[in-house]
Symmetry: C2
Subunit: 200 residues, 2 copies
Amino acid sequence: MVVSGPSGVGKGTVVEHAMSGRSAAARRLRRSVSVTTRPRRAGEREGRDYFFRSPDEFKRMAASGELLEWASYLGHQYGTPREWVDRQLEAGYDIVLEIEVQGAMQVREHRPEAVLVYMLPPSWRALRQRLKLRRSEAAEIQQRRIEVATQEFEYVRNYHYVIVNDRVAKAARQLLAILSAERARVGRADLDWLPAENSD
Amino acid sequence: MVVSGPSGVGKGTVVEHAMSGRSAAARRLRRSVSVTTRPRRAGEREGRDYFFRSPDEFKRMAASGELLEWASYLGHQYGTPREWVDRQLEAGYDIVLEIEVQGAMQVREHRPEAVLVYMLPPSWRALRQRLKLRRSEAAEIQQRRIEVATQEFEYVRNYHYVIVNDRVAKAARQLLAILSAERARVGRADLDWLPAENSD
C-alpha cells in the first residue's frame, strides 16, 4: 500500500495509529523505512524514521536496483529499499510506503497489485497551520511545501482511494478498512483453491 | 451493494449482523426486501422477509418498470422494488440487495456504481449440511440448490469481492470494511468540492 499526501497532512501519525490496533488487518501492517539524503531532523532516528545516506551512496543504491522507487523532493532524494519490502510481503505482511507522488507512480507501474491511497487535509488552511508548528523550518521551505502539495493534488485521480484526515482515529480506521476490503477483491483473492479443496 | 451466494450460505445472517453494529458504516446500512411469487415459509413475514405477490401481480410490476432487477429461481420469481431503493439511496443509506446471479448481472448493467459481493461457504460440505437443517424442504429441492450453487460459482469473477462465511462476525466485518473502503474510492468520492471549499 502506498500512502501519499501533502507534507504535514499526518500520514505517519495515521499509519502508526492503524498499526497500533488489534484487528487482523492492523497486526499484518508494517511501515517501510525510506532511504534519504536529507539531513536528520531533531528527534529522528536512523533506521526508525529513515536510513540517512550520502548522495553518493544513494546514487549507488539506485543504480544497482536496490530501490523499489526513488524520487527527489525539495532538493533531497528519497527511496524505498526493495529487498526489505519483498521479504515482508513474502512473510504475509501488508507494507505501507509513505512516499511522494513521483515514487507512487513508479510503484504503480512496477507493482500493479499495489493499492494507492492519497491523504488529504480537511482544508488547506489546516495544513498551513500544521506546517507552521514545525518551527525548525524556514518560512520559505514551508511555502514551498504548500506549493508542491497544490501541484500534487492534480495526481489524486491516479490513486485508488482518498482519505480525508480530519480525525486520526477515523482516518486510521479507513486505512484498515481499505486493507481488509482489498484482500477480498476478486482477482486478488485466490479463487483457484475452491473447486479443488471442496470437491467431495 | 449486491450480496449473492449459494442458498444456505448465510447471506441474511451476515447482513443482519453487519447492520447491528454501531459504526457509521453499519448505521448507514439497510436491507432491501424483495418481491416474490414463491409461497411463504413458516416464520416468514410479509414486508420483512419478502413481499409475497401472485404471479400475475409480479408480471405487472416487471412490465411497468417497478422492479430494478428480477429473476427466476427454482420455478419462482424474485425482484427488487426500484422506488424504495432509490428513495433510500437519496437519503444517504447504503442498500444491500440479497439476490441471485441473474439479478446481480442486471444491477451491474443498470447501476455501474453498484458493488457486487459473492459470499462463499467454507466448503461445499458445510453448505450441504446447512441446507439439510431446513427440514421443511424436500431432498430433491435441496439437491437442486446445490446444483444451482455449483453452476453459479462460474459467475464469481463477475463480482468485485468474495467473502468466505466461516464466521458470521468476521464476514460481517468484511462486509462493513468493503462499504467503508468503497466510500473512499477515487471516482466515487466527490473530489470536486475540494479546490472550491479550500481556496482561501
